[in-house]
Symmetry: C2
Amino acid sequence: MKRLPLRHRLPRIAAIAALWIVAAAAQAQTDPLPSWNDGPAKRAIVAFVKDTTDKAGPKYVAPEARIAAFDQDGTTWVEQPNYGEAMFAFDQLAVELDKHPRLKYIEPFKTVMSGNQAAIAKLTNEDLLKIAAAITHSGMTVPQFQQNVKDWLASAKHPRFHRPYTELAYQPMLEAMQYLRANGFKTYIVTGGGQDFVREYAQQVYGVPPEQIVGSAADTTFGYDKDGKAVLTKTHKTLFVDDKAGKPLAIHLVIGARPIIAFGNSDGDQQMLEYTEAGDGPHLMLLVHHDDATREYAYGPASKVGTFSEAMHAEATKRGWTVISMKNDWNRIFSWE
Amino acid sequence: MKRLPLRHRLPRIAAIAALWIVAAAAQAQTDPLPSWNDGPAKRAIVAFVKDTTDKAGPKYVAPEARIAAFDQDGTTWVEQPNYGEAMFAFDQLAVELDKHPRLKYIEPFKTVMSGNQAAIAKLTNEDLLKIAAAITHSGMTVPQFQQNVKDWLASAKHPRFHRPYTELAYQPMLEAMQYLRANGFKTYIVTGGGQDFVREYAQQVYGVPPEQIVGSAADTTFGYDKDGKAVLTKTHKTLFVDDKAGKPLAIHLVIGARPIIAFGNSDGDQQMLEYTEAGDGPHLMLLVHHDDATREYAYGPASKVGTFSEAMHAEATKRGWTVISMKNDWNRIFSWE
């Protein structure tokens, strides 16, 4: 066939291109998880939602039982070089230590003030809780603490991405939350982080209201301010630590029902996933694997560092839990990319 | 005017009566609180709902902040001759004591087993918690406990009303809850009773799902059953007692936001009402006064017995809290009347 000169072919090429763009746009509109590449993780989520919402199907779950639990640090937002809340605590600590200078010579505060990132990275969860509870929160009224968090979120920037922490949520996870909610699921954050911290931004960042944040909690005391108005004040005393076996306990305490889908990224989420798996009806357990040093960070079973151990990875594989590869399953990590 | 004989007047009387019935039915349909008599309590609730949902008005409250807190025992259902949960615990105790016969000689179990209602009525909250935690719940898996509650609810009858406890909710309060929900409020039970107990019937009785039950809570331990499935087991250890100053603490812990309307009936609700009152926006505080020995029970400031003290009544009056008279404000107490 004789080929037409380019100038005659152009309208046809343009028409095809236009059709292709329209088709791609339609595809994007109907795909609830556009930042997820087609693959086992995306397919598992979509199949689970279709199955549990299909009234005629054998895996149908009534809306009130559609409970989705998301770990936060490393699952729905960046947790490197440290938890957002730890970064907040460090910044608050620098301000507060002027009022308690003797603490500069006591661990874990000494390490924090040294600025030695390697040593800071090795602080235990207990150390971090000590910092959070003892220095920045204890003796502070709840409204004052809430204001401090708000102020910090408005000014602090992540050391690598140079963005506010609230912009470091993973776009694919935001889509998964939105997709689940659009299908009648109630989305909960179930985090080792402090409830009062996460509640200050979870609605804005994740669309999750305060009552759907399950986190570690310190006790509060009830009293009255100078005007005689009732006020709560934060104390040192830990009520519960929402990590490892503490996660199912906190889920039972605050939600009173078992999740049917749960997302985690570390050994700290194992019991929550086991608890989800032990439910009578359909359930889906997923773990984010940080295997993308270029776009985010690499830690976990592939790199053999961090809190997602090889043993946990082997267990997940054995049990058929879905491992999400950030590198392969996510075509976009942040909304601003 | 010459009066017509009755047989001629009848059609006209019938027509007027029919109109009156239609008007009354229309009234009943539009009245969201038909079991409430017109009076200050009903007017306060209706005005509050109208004000907080009027977008153009100065007292508008966004839907996410429309949080309503209801104490349970004595506020939304009968608490005489004892809390429903205590009745459950006593019944369970009789069964369980065969397994631990030596406890029959130790207080408070000795008193309970004596059957002396006057002595039983004097048991402190701490005694009741001991009974609940130590005997009936500790060492029991959560699903087993839930089954026990279900079984008890299906068989137990109230000693005076000879009805299942789940039929002893106050109809006016059920209407208030429904009315609030229809206006975008989220209704919470905030009870000194155990979360795990109340959650078993709250959806059915009040239309309140498990995650909106804030109650006293014992710790649980995480483990595995014989099939290796994750399971939670109840323990002795009290996490928090949701009474008096414990109520605002539990509200903050579980809800993370302040109620704008709160219903109570005793000194145990004072701090919850103060916490509600301390909010920046509109708020309404209400207390049920049990002053109707004929239809229910009389205790509280008028009869000078019970847990709603004269001091609390004076404080409520001073602060402008609304006191609901069961006798005068409610034309019906139970749905089956």
